[in-house]
Amino acid sequence: MIKTKDLIKTVSTSEGELQILQPVNFSVEAGESIAIIGASGSGKSTLLGLLAGLDTATSGEIWLDGAPLHDLDEEARAQLRGEKVGFIFQSFMLVPSLTALENIMLPAEIIGLDNPKARALEVLKQVGVEHRAGHYPNQLSGGEQQRVAIARAFITSPKILFADEPTGNLDAHNSHNVESLLFDLNKQSNTTLILVTHDPELAKKCDRQLAMTAGELVEVTPNQDNLGSSKTEHQNNPASHDQEASV
C-alpha cells in the first residue's frame, strides 16, 4: 500500500543544509497498522507529511497504492489524498466556521461523493456524537472534536489513514475512547493506518512499530522493549547497503 525508496529530506538553515530524514526505505501492506514513534523533533511528523503527500521529498520515491507520489504535482497529490487518504490530527483541525456535520461532509463534497449529508450523519452516529451535529467546533469538548475529526477521516472510506498524535491533546479518559474508536473503525473498514505518536501504549496497539531517531527509521520488534534496529529488509534493498539504518 505504501512503499518508500531512499527517501531523503533536507532543509536549508542559516548554518547550511540540514538532513532531517536519512534515506528511508520501508513498505506497508494494505490493512496494516503502523505506529511511528520517536521523540519530539526526531522527524516523524516530517515523514508523515511526505507519506501523505503534504510535502515533497528532497530525493527518493514514495509509492502510495501504486501511485508514484514523488512524480505528482501538488494538484495531483491533492486529488490522490482526497480519494485515498484520511487524516486525524493532534489539534483536530476542524474548520471553525462549519458545524460538526458540515465538517464531516467536507471531504465527501470536495471529491464529489453522492449524498454527503446522509453519509456524514451515518458516520457521525458511528462515532457517537450525532446529538452534536449542529454544533460548531468551539462548542465541542476536545474528545468530541476528535470524534468528529475521526468521522471526517472515515467518510470517504479511505484506503490509508494518517493519524498525527490523535490523542495528544486529550485526557486519559478521552484518549482511551478515541483510541478504541479509531482502531474499531480501522478494523471495520480494513484501512491501512499510519499513526505517529510518542505514546508507547498507543503504539503497541498497532501491528508494527517503527522508531524514528534523528531522522533514522528503524523497526521495533514486538519483543523489544528498547528501540533497536532490524535489518530484515536491508538485504533485500541493495540501494541502501551503505545506510546504517534502513528498515
Partner: protein, 853 residues
C-alpha cells in the same frame, strides 16, 4: 463502491462558499470586512448623493445670477438660427437685449440701463417687483407687456414719475406699470449703475436705440440637461467669434457666490476622496485579517483533497457574497443616512428635491467592488498559497507574500479610485503623494521607535517594558498599523482644518454689520451734513471717498484709442484699452482697509517737496490685477483727462484689494495733491440693521440728489448660501469623522485579534490582568501619539499643497494640531485598545484559550 457526481463536484465551491459565508456572517466573523465594505459604500454614496443634491441646489441658486444654466453674450445680434438650433437640443431659451439710453419724462432726462427681455426670461431666478419705492421686491412670473415699462425706484425719483405715467425711450413711448426691484442677472456695480428699465423684447426695435454706433449687448439664455448644453456648445462653438461672443456657465461665475460654490464643490470632492481612502484602508485591514483567519481552513481543505482551483473558487465566491451583501447594505445605509441628514438640515440647507441620482450610486458600487477586489487580492493570493503541510506545522504561513506588491496594488487602487471619482489628477496626486510621504516617514518612525524602545523598555518586566517589548517584536505589523492609524488621523485632520479654514474665510468676507447700502453722488457741500445726520441717527459710514471720473489719454507715450473703444469700465477689460475710456479715480493718503501694498511705497510719505517724480507728475497706486490686465507696472506714467484738465501720474505703488469686502474699492488711488483743483463727489457705504429699514426714506429725505444702492438683498443671498454650504460642510465633516473613527475601531479590533494568543498565554502564566491591560494601553498610547504626531506633520504638507494648488487659499501653519493630534491620537487609540483588551480579559482564560483554537 463510492459513487461520485460531477455536477455535485462542480457546484461544490459555490455551495461551500455559501455555507461558510452564512455561518461566518451569523457568527459575526465577517463583521469587520462586511462593515468596512458597508462603510465605504455608505460613506461614498451618502457623501456624493448629498453633495450632488446640494450642488444641484447651489448650482440652481448660482444659475439665478446668470438667469440660466448657460449664457451667450454678444456685441452683435445673435443669429435666430442658433436659438432654433438650441431648441433642437431640447434646451429652453430666452433672450435679452440691453443698452444704455436716455429716458425722458416730465421734461427731465436720465441715463438708464435698458433691458428688453423675451417672454421666457428669466430661465432661472425671478424678476422682482416692489409694491412701493425701495420696498423689498416679490417675485413675478410675468414680463412687461408690449408698450409697458417696469422701472427702478431711483428712476421714479429722478424723473418724478408715478405709476401710469409715460416715459420715452428712444423713439418709443411706454407706460410705467411696475416698480422694478431686481432682475436675476442685473449685475452689481456701484459705479455707473444707471437705473434699470425693463421692456418687452418685441418693443426694442421701435425704440431705435440699437442702431449703428450704439453699444448694445445681446444675450441668449439656455437651460437644460448638462449633457445637452455641452453638446449644443460643441455644435455652436465653431461659429463663435471670441472677439464678439462670450459663453458663460455657472462655473465661470467669479462672484463671491460663484467662488464659494466652487470651493465647496472642491471640498465635497476632497471629503469624498478621503472617505474612499478611509474605506479602502478599512477594507485592506479587514481583508488581511480575514485571510489570516482562513489559513487553517485552506490548509485543511487542501489536505482533504481540494485543488488550488477549488480553493480559489470557494474564496472568490465568498468574497463576492461579502461584497454584494456589503454593497447592498451600504447602499441602504448610505441612502438612509443622507436622507436623515437632509431632513435634519431641512431648515438650513436647501437641497435639490430630486432624491435619486445614478452617478453617486454607480460610484459607490464601483468603489465597493474595486475596494473589495483590489484590497482582497493580495491577502487572497497569500491565502491560496497556504501549503497543506500547515496542518502538521502550524508555523508555516503563506508562501506567496509580497508586501511591496500589496502596497503597489493598494496604492494603485486608491489612486485609480481618486482619479476616476474626482477626474482631477492634481487633487488626487496631491493627496496620494502626501500619503506616500507619510508612509515613508512612518516607516522611519517605526524604526526610530524600536531604537527608542531599546532604551525606554529597559528594566524589570512590567507593563511599560511589556509594551515596548511588544512594539519591538511586532515591528513590521506595528509599522503597518502605525501607517493606517496615522493615515486615518491625517485624513481627518485635513478635512477638519480645511473645513475650519474655508468656513472662516467665507465668514470673514461678510461679517455681521457688513455695509448693505451704498451712497454715491454726495457733493462736497453735502458731505459734512450727511456725516452729521447719519451720526445723529446712530449710523456709521465707512468713510467718504472722493470720486472723480477721468478719461484715459496716455500710458507713457502710448495714446489710448478711446475713439475706437466705446466700452465702459464695468465691462470687459482684457486689453490695455480694456478698462474703458473712463476710470473712477479717488485720492487719499490713508490706505483703505482691505488694501495692501505689495510693491513700491504708499503716498503717506510723499510730498511735492521730497518728490523724485518729474515736475507736475503725482503718485498713483494701482490695483494689482488691473495693472496686469492693462500691462501697467511700477514707474509707468498715466495721463488722465479730468474735466478738461490733464493730470499726469506715475505708478509708485501696487496694491492688492480684497474685493469681497462690501466697501467702495478703487483701481486707481491718486495723491490728493493731484486732485486739489477738482471738485469731487463722494461715495460711501453704511450698515443699516434690517429692522430699521422703514427709516430709510426719512433718513435719506434731506439728500434727495444722493443716489442710494440697496445691496441688502444681495448680501443676504450671499450669506444664506454661505450658511448653507457651511452647514453642509459640517455634516460632511461629521460623516468623515465617524467614518474615520470606525476605521480606527476596525484597526484596533484587527490588531487585538492578533494579540489574543499572547494575552491568553500571559494570562495562563499568571500575569495580573491590570499589568496586561496597562501594557496594552501603553502600547496603544505610544502608537497613537506617534501616529498623531506624524499625521500632524503630513497634514501640514497636504494642506499646503491643497490650499495653494487647488483651493487658491492662503496657507498657514496649524501649530495647535501638532499638539492636538498626538494627544487625541494617543487618547483615542489608547481608549479603543483598552476597550478591546477589557473585553478579551473579561473572558476567563479557558474561553480565551479555546478562542485561539
Amino acid at each position: 463502491m463510492i459513487s461520485m457526481s460531477s455536477v455535485r463536484a462542480k457546484n461544490m465551491p459555490r455551495q461551500l462558499a455559501w455555507r461558510l459565508f452564512k455561518h461566518e456572517a451569523k457568527r459575526g466573523e465577517l463583521s469587520i470586512i462586511l462593515f468596512a465594505i458597508i462603510l465605504s459604500v455608505a460613506a461614498v454614496l451618502s457623501l456624493s448623493l448629498f453633495s450632488e443634491r446640494l450642488q444641484g441646489a447651489l448650482t440652481d441658486r448660482s444659475a439665478e445670477f446668470i438667469a440660466a444654466d448657460r449664457q451667450l453674450s454678444a456685441r452683435n445680434p445673435i443669429d435666430p438660427a442658433w436659438i432654433t438650433q438650441a431648441q433642437t437640443f431640447s434646451l429652453a431659451t430666452a433672450e435679452q437685449v440691453s443698452t444704455r439710453s436716455m429716458a425722458f419724462a416730465n421734461d427731465e432726462l436720465a441715463l438708464v440701463d435698458l433691458r428688453a427681455v423675451s417672454d421666457t426670461y428669466p430661465l432661472k431666478g425671478n424678476i422682482k417687483l416692489a409694491p412701493e419705492l425701495f420696498a423689498t421686491g416679490a417675485a413675478t412670473t410675468q414680463i412687461p407687456k408690449r408698450g409697458e415699462a417696469w422701472i427702478d425706484s431711483r428712476l421714479f425719483q429722478l424723473l418724478g414719475l408715478v405709476i401710469g405715467d409715460n416715459i420715452e425711450l428712444g423713439d418709443a413711448t411706454f407706460t410705467v406699470t411696475q416698480i422694478l426691484s431686481e432682475i436675476p442677472d442685473g449685475g452689481f456695480s456701484v459705479f455707473n449703475a444707471d437705473p434699470m428699465v425693463l421692456i418687452n423684447h418685441q418693443d426694442i426695435a421701435a425704440t431705435n436705440v440699437t442702431g449703428p454706433g450704439s453699444r448694445v449687448n445681446y444675450k441668449a439664455y439656455f437651460t437644460g440637461e448638462n449633457s445637452d448644453l455641452d453638446d449644443y456648445f460643441d455644435a455652436l462653438s465653431p461659429q463663435l467669434d471670441r472677439q464678439i461672443h462670450r459663453w458663460l456657465s455657472v462655473q465661470d461665475d467669479t462672484s463671491p457666490i460663484g467662488e464659494s460654490v466652487a470651493r465647496a464643490e472642491q471640498f465635497f470632492l476632497l471629503a469624498s476622496l478621503l472617505a474612499i481612502v478611509l474605506a479602502a484602508v478599512a477594507i485592506g485591514v479587514a481583508a488581511q485579517r480575514y485571510a489570516q483567519r482562513h489559513f487553517d481552513p485552506v490548509a485543511i481543505m487542501k489536505t482533504l483533497g481540494a485543488s488550488t482551483n477549488t480553493i480559489r473558487k470557494v474564496y472568490l465566491y465568498q468574497i463576492s457574497f461579502i461584497a454584494i451583501l456589503g454593497i447592498m447594505l451600504g447602499a441602504v445605509v448610505g441612502f438612509v443616512l443622507q436622507q436623515i441628514v437632509v431632513s435634519a438640515l431641512a431648515d438650513t440647507v436647501e437641497v435639490s428635491l430630486q432624491v435619486w441620482y445614478w452617478r453617486p450610486m454607480l460610484i459607490a458600487i464601483f468603489t465597493g467592488s474595486v475596494c473589495a477586489l483590489l484590497f482582497c487580492l493580495y491577502p487572497l493570493l497569500g491565502l491560496f498559497s497556504i501549503p497543506p503541510l500547515r496542518v502538521l506545522r502550524r508555523d508555516i504561513s503563506a508562501t506567496f507574500s509580497s508586501r511591496g506588491g500589496q502596497y503597489i496594488t493598494a496604492g494603485g487602487a486608491i489612486l485609480l479610485l481618486m482619479w476616476v471619482y474626482s477626474q482631477n489628477l492634481k487633487i488626487s496626486l496631491i493627496l496620494f503623494v502626501s500619503g506616500l510621504i507619510l508612509v515613508g516617514l512612518l516607516l522611519g518612525a517605526t524604526f526610530g521607535l524600536i531604537a527608542l524602545g531599546r532604551v525606554l523598555g529597559k528594566g524589570r518586566m512590567g507593563a511599560w517594558q511589556l509594551a515596548w517589548a511588544r512594539i519591538k517584536r511586532r515591528s513590521l505589523d506595528n509599522s503597518v498599523q502605525l501607517i493606517s492609524f496615522a493615515l486615518t488621523i491625517m485624513l481627518l485632520l485635513v478635512v477638519l482644518v480645511m473645513r475650519n479654514d474655508i468656513v472662516q474665510q467665507w465668514r470673514d468676507q461678510l461679517p455681521q454689520g457688513t455695509a448693505n447700502y451704498f451712497l454715491a453722488n454726495v457733493t462736497q457741500e453735502q458731505r459734512p451734513k450727511l456725516v452729521e445726520h447719519f451720526a445723529k441717527n446712530g449710523i456709521d459710514t465707512d468713510g467718504l471717498y472722493p470720486v472723480s471720473r477721468g478719461r484715459f489719454v496716455k500710458v507713457n507715450d502710448e495714446l489710448i484709442r478711446t475713439d475706437i473703444s466705446k466700452e465702459d469700465e464695468d465691462t470687459t477689460n482684457e486689453t490695455r484699452r480694456g478698462l474703458g475710456r473712463e476710470a473712477n479715480l479717488t485720492w487719499d493718503t490713508v490706505l483703505q482697509s482691505g488694501n495692501e501694498i505689495i510693491a513700491g511705497q504708499w503716498h503717506d510719505q510723499w510730498t511735492p517737496q521730497n518728490s523724485t517724480l518729474p515736475e507736475g507728475v503725482f503718485p498713483v497706486s494701482i490695483e494689482e490685477r488691473v495693472g496686469e490686465r492693462m500691462r501697467i507696472g511700477m514707474g509707468d506714467e498715466l495721463t488722465f483727462n479730468i474735466g478738461s484738465e490733464i493730470v499726469t501720474v506715475q505708478v509708485t505703488s501696487v496694491r492688492t484689494v480684497n474685493w469681497q469686502t462690501m466697501q467702495p474699492n478703487f483701481f486707481f488711488v491718486l495723491h490728493p495733491e493731484a486732485m486739489s483743483q477738482f471738485r469731487a463727489s463722494y461715495i460711501t457705504s453704511f450698515y443699516l440693521p434690517p429692522e430699521r429699514k422703514p427709516e430709510l426714506t426719512k433718513l435719506m429725505a434731506p439728500f434727495a440728489s444722493v443716489t442710494m444702492f440697496d445691496v441688502d438683498a444681495r448680501i443676504n443671498q450671499v450669506r444664506s448660501i454661505i450658511d448653507q454650504v457651511s452647514a453642509a460642510i459640517e455634516f460632511i465633516l461629521v460623516l468623515v469623522l465617524v467614518a474615520g473613527s470606525l476605521v480606527l475601531v476596525a484597526q484596533v479590533q484587527a490588531s487585538m485579534d492578533e494579540r489574543q494568543r499572547e494575552l491568553a498565554i500571559l494570562r495562563t502564566l499568571g500575569a495580573k490582568g491590570m499589568m496586561i491591560r496597562l501594557s496594552v494601553i501603553y502600547e496603544f498610547l505610544i502608537i497613537g501619539s506617534v501616529a498623531g504626531f506624524m499625521a500632524a506633520l503630513a497634514n501640514e504638507v497636504s494642506l499646503y499643497l491643497l490650499q495653494t494648488n487647488v483651493f487658491q487659499m492662503q496657507s498657514s501653519l496649524h501649530l495647535e494640531y501638532w499638539v492636538i493630534a498626538p494627544v487625541t491620537g494617543a487618547v483615542v487609540v489608547g481608549l479603543l485598545g483598552a476597550a478591546s483588551c477589557w473585553r478579551l480579559l473579561s473572558m476567563n482564560t479557558q474561553v480565551l484559550l479555546r478562542k485561539m483554537l
